[in-house]
């Protein structure tokens, strides 16, 4: 009897720790074999496999194509998948974070940004520095993410949120570079979206030694990694030089990522999903995890790429593999969120009680004054490419003023809406890095509008507005449904936003590679331009923002309690989850309204509430008003810069605001050290 019980438990333990990953890898291995058989079939049938593989008949087109296109594509798919999965496994182990990966921590976006910049701007004579440049881009992005998240109580969540901030910023940075090089759009998009089409073995020859060296080095370091996994204290007491080891492994992971992205562009989610899935399936030792990641990642990307190739045979525009991978991978994040144990951060991590910069009253007055002066300056002063111009009184002046005020007010209203939204999310979620971008509502709004525009051909702005609003609200309902079961709902809601944003990213890449003449308009809207807004829309959004701001201020007392933390509030007798959801709903409506006007990105909703609290606006009511004042000021400045910085060309306001926001967080992070 006891023997049988023992046997049973051993069996199930065996299943948990070894079999499931092995089965997973085995299934993918079989699928890979099937792919190979299908691709090799013509040559298997007539026994020309060795010839086609090693010395193709120079007169037989099919053989040449097979040898120089199909074979290297198979090899590249395996190498990229294996490399990225290993890089992800290494990063996850080093940072002890199940959601870390080259894509979620901004490494991929950093490499992509650096390469886009390099390809378009660097002279041909510097071509040999391209790789170093890409590597530097990845390392700097990772360093920025680490800096923002360093020294926080809940490193897991902070890292991911910081990664998302840096990701969004770099992606929109890449888009801006492209906006100004419209003619090359198509090819850069194709590469940026992760294109595995091959013409010869050159890319493979570039990638394989790098990935192999990176793999061997990481695997060699994987024993000390197991020590790392025990935690810093244990590892250093065991004599490992923890910091050096961590940096070395992270550097190698970035190196592999940079090599892969240089050759094949952005391939999302393999680096996140494969190691995370293997870990959930029961692999805990880092060496096992890595070896399995190499094969599972390689097989998985090879199979996905095969599917993409079949799809592309229908003709028309090709579907880029990387974007397709992201589409496969995004739902997986939601699944993983249910598995990964991410504890909510405690507010005390970020109180900044010693960081009050100026007195609240002085700051409020200063902000109000700067607002008034700023509006007057924005409306009457501009740059015309030679210097400052003050608008005089001519017959066209009124029209010019109306044009400028439309855009300035649109930006300012969005600043206010996002500031309120962000304050609510940060208070209810008790997370100072939460923002409207991160709930996914902005992304879903944008996604609905893009699909309507690019796929279903809606061109009228009013139609798009309605569709966008519907998309934002629908996504909120989905989020609420997903979060229903969780104890720490707000946190999962934020993390679900990650998945939504990822899906948006993938769809945007696909839509942009598929061309259509509205591509560049779409891009500037995505990056947050006020160019297309009109006063009627501004008035509507202003009305919504005003009403909801009043509602939020009226609810400032329960909001105060909510931000003390669920447990205390519950003990004080508040029905906290209903209230939390109501506040999240307000936040989502505000975020969606702002997105309709200036696109999904700005970080004002992140920065303004944060800055307000650092400046000493502690109580909910003051926090809301302080955040609004800051948000409006920031967006006003961003809007003026966007319109005038490189006159007559115009930059998207959201991007400028995002630059200001990211700069703020980097400065804050370095001050803390």
């Amino acid at each position: 009897m006891s023997n049988a019980v023992l046997h049973g438990s051993v069996k199930s333990g065996f299943l948990d720790t070894l079999s499931i990953p092995a089965i997973l890898t085995g299934i993918l291995g079989l699928l890979t074999l099937a792919v190979l058989v299908i691709d090799f079939w013509p040559y298997l049938a007539n026994g020309q496999v060795p010839q086609a593989m090693f010395s193709p008949d120079e007169t037989d087109f099919d053989q040449i194509l097979f040898h120089y296109s199909t074979l290297p594509r198979l090899a590249m798919a395996f190498l990229c998948g294996a490399g990225l999965a290993l890089a992800g496994a290494a990063i996850q182990t080093v940072l002890r974070n199940p959601l870390a990966s080259p894509t979620t921590l901004g490494v991929g976006a950093g490499v992509e940004f650096a390469l886009t910049l390099f390809v378009l701007l660097a002279p041909a004579s510097l071509a040999m520095f391209q790789e170093a440049f890409a590597l530097a881009g990845g390392l700097i992005a990772l360093a920025a993410v680490y800096l923002i998240a360093a020294n926080r109580g809940n490193a897991t969540l902070w890292l991911i949120l910081a990664g998302m901030i840096v990701n969004l910023l770099l992606q929109s940075g890449s888009q801006i570079i492209l906006l100004f090089n419209e003619q090359y759009l198509q090819s850069i998009f194709m590469w940026g979206a992760g294109d595995l089409a091959q013409n010869g073995w050159e890319d493979t020859q570039f990638v394989w030694p790098r990935v192999l060296i990176g793999m061997i080095a990481i695997l060699a370091l994987s024993r000390p990694l197991d020590l790392l996994a025990l935690g810093d204290d244990t590892a250093s007491s065991l004599g490992a030089k923890v910091t050096v080891l961590r940096l070395l492994i992270l550097g190698l992971a970035v190196f592999i990522t940079a090599s892969v992205i240089s050759a094949a562009g952005m391939i999302g989610f393999v680096g996140l999903a494969i190691p995370a899935a293997l870990r959930i399936a029961g692999l805990s030792r880092s060496r096992d995890l890595m070896v399995y990641s190499v094969f599972t990642g390689g097989f998985a990307l090879l199979v996905i790429d095969f599917l993409v190739r079949q799809f592309n045979e229908f003709g028309g525009d090709p579907l880029p593999t990387g974007a397709a991978t992201a589409l496969f991978g995004a739902p997986f994040i939601i699944f993983m969120l249910r598995k990964a144990r991410i504890m909510p951060g405690s507010q005390s991590d970020d109180q900044h009680s010693d960081q009050q910069i100026v007195s609240k009253t002085a700051l409020s007055i200063a902000l109000a004054v700067s607002l008034v002066i700023g509006v007057v300056f924005s409306l009457f002063v501009s740059l015309d490419g030679h210097g400052f111009v003050v608008l005089g009184w001519k017959d066209s002046s009124l029209d010019i003023l109306i044009g400028r005020s439309e855009r300035t007010f649109a930006a300012m209203i969005c600043g206010a809406a996002l500031a309120v939204s962000g304050t609510l999310i940060q208070r209810v979620g008790r997370n100072p890095l939460a923002s409207p971008e991160i709930t996914g509502v902005s992304s879903a709004t944008a996604l609905a509008m893009i699909m309507a525009l690019a796929i279903f051909g809606f061109g009228q702005r009013a139609e798009l507005m309605v569709i966008g609003a519907a998309g934002g609200i629908a996504s909120l309902l989905v989020l609420l449904a997903l979060c229903r079961k969780f104890t720490h709902a707000p946190h999962y809601m934020l993390l679900n936003g990650l998945a939504m944003t990822a899906i948006l990213g993938a769809i945007v890449r696909i839509v942009l590679t598929r061309g259509g003449t509205q591509t560049s308009m779409l891009m500037s809207w995505l990056a947050g331009t006020t160019y297309f807004t009109n006063m009627d829309e501004v008035m509507i959004v202003a009305g919504i923002t005003g009403v909801l701001l009043v509602v939020a201020i009226a609810l400032r007392r329960p909001l105060e309690l909510a931000s003390l933390g669920t447990d205390q509030s519950v003990s004080l007798g508040l029905g906290i989850s209903g209230f939390q959801f109501a506040m999240m709903l307000l936040a989502a409506i505000l975020a969606a309204s702002a997105t309709l006007l200036v696109g999904p990105l700005s970080f004002v909703g992140l920065m303004a509430p944060h800055l307000a609290r650092v400046a000493g606006y502690r109580l909910a009511g003051g926090h809301l008003l302080g955040a609004v004042l800051i948000g409006v000021n920031v967006m006003m400045v961003a809007e003026w810069l966007a319109r005038n910085m490189i006159y007559p060309a115009q930059l998207p306001t959201g991007l400028i605001a995002a630059l200001i926001g990211t700069g703020y967080f980097l400065i804050l992070a370095s001050r803390k050290r």
Binding site: S69, E182, N199, F314, R404, G516, T529, D536, P648
Partner: protein, 311 residues
Amino acid sequence: MNILRALVCPVLLCAALVGAHASTAIADPIEIEHERGTLRLDAPATRVATINWAFTESVIALGLDPVAIADPQDYVDWVAKPDLPDSFVDLGQRSSPNLEALRAAKPDLIISVPDLGMSYEKLAEIAPVLELQLFDGNRPAFETAREVFGKIAKATGREAEAKAYLTDIDQELIKYGDRIKTAIGPDQTINVVFFFDESNVGIFADISLPGSVMTAMGVPVAYDGEVNKWGFGRGGLEILAPYAKETLVYTNPVPDVVLDKLLNSPIWKVMDFTRNNRVYELPVVWAYGGVPSGLRFAKLLTETIENGPQQ
């Protein structure tokens, strides 16, 4: 917008109405069908702003210098001819032409595209907008281009110039076509191809501007596969394989690095057009332009082919 305007400037609005009314009385209005119904102009436009290069080149070809042009720098690189005027207002990007710069140029006509439909009202506040579709995916691009050219001529009162420009154009195109047939033989067809990167190519279909001009020349393109919204097919080099027996012309500009890698790749080298020495390099010409680019394409294609294949 309307709210503010109504609040702030009723007087100006009235003045504008009176002014508009006064000038209608003077001359017969010009009426042009466009994407927004019928555009009425009281007099031929003389100060034209062009948001798209196809319009820019068409206005210049009609002998009128546009007063405001979007993306002039890139025009030089991608359209090349006809030359831009000596002075004009730079409007910035085609995707978001600077409204203040546009206003400062004091245009009396703005020629725009439906892609910018979202800012139509804003443009229309500055000057009458002629919104013309250049390529709709159904009609051959050259046919649409001729119609657009005619509408621009009508709006600018240069119908005589347009007539002169288009005289004998059909015969001329046929003559170009005959010269090409003489050069490459009557059985050969041509594909016009451009390179995205070393692995991806685009191939113009008969509906595109190059394709429809070639149809008019009597040397239709060989490509008959799938077409995207821009009028070309796209894919790896293998999409060229079914047409490898035909002649291939690739367009410019293309980065040297890409060209180098591509022309030296084994797949390129095994293609029949490479082996049979039927690869030609076309100088810069705008493949999404108007009538001037279409005619320039015909001329350059003929000269390119007469000059012989690329070595």
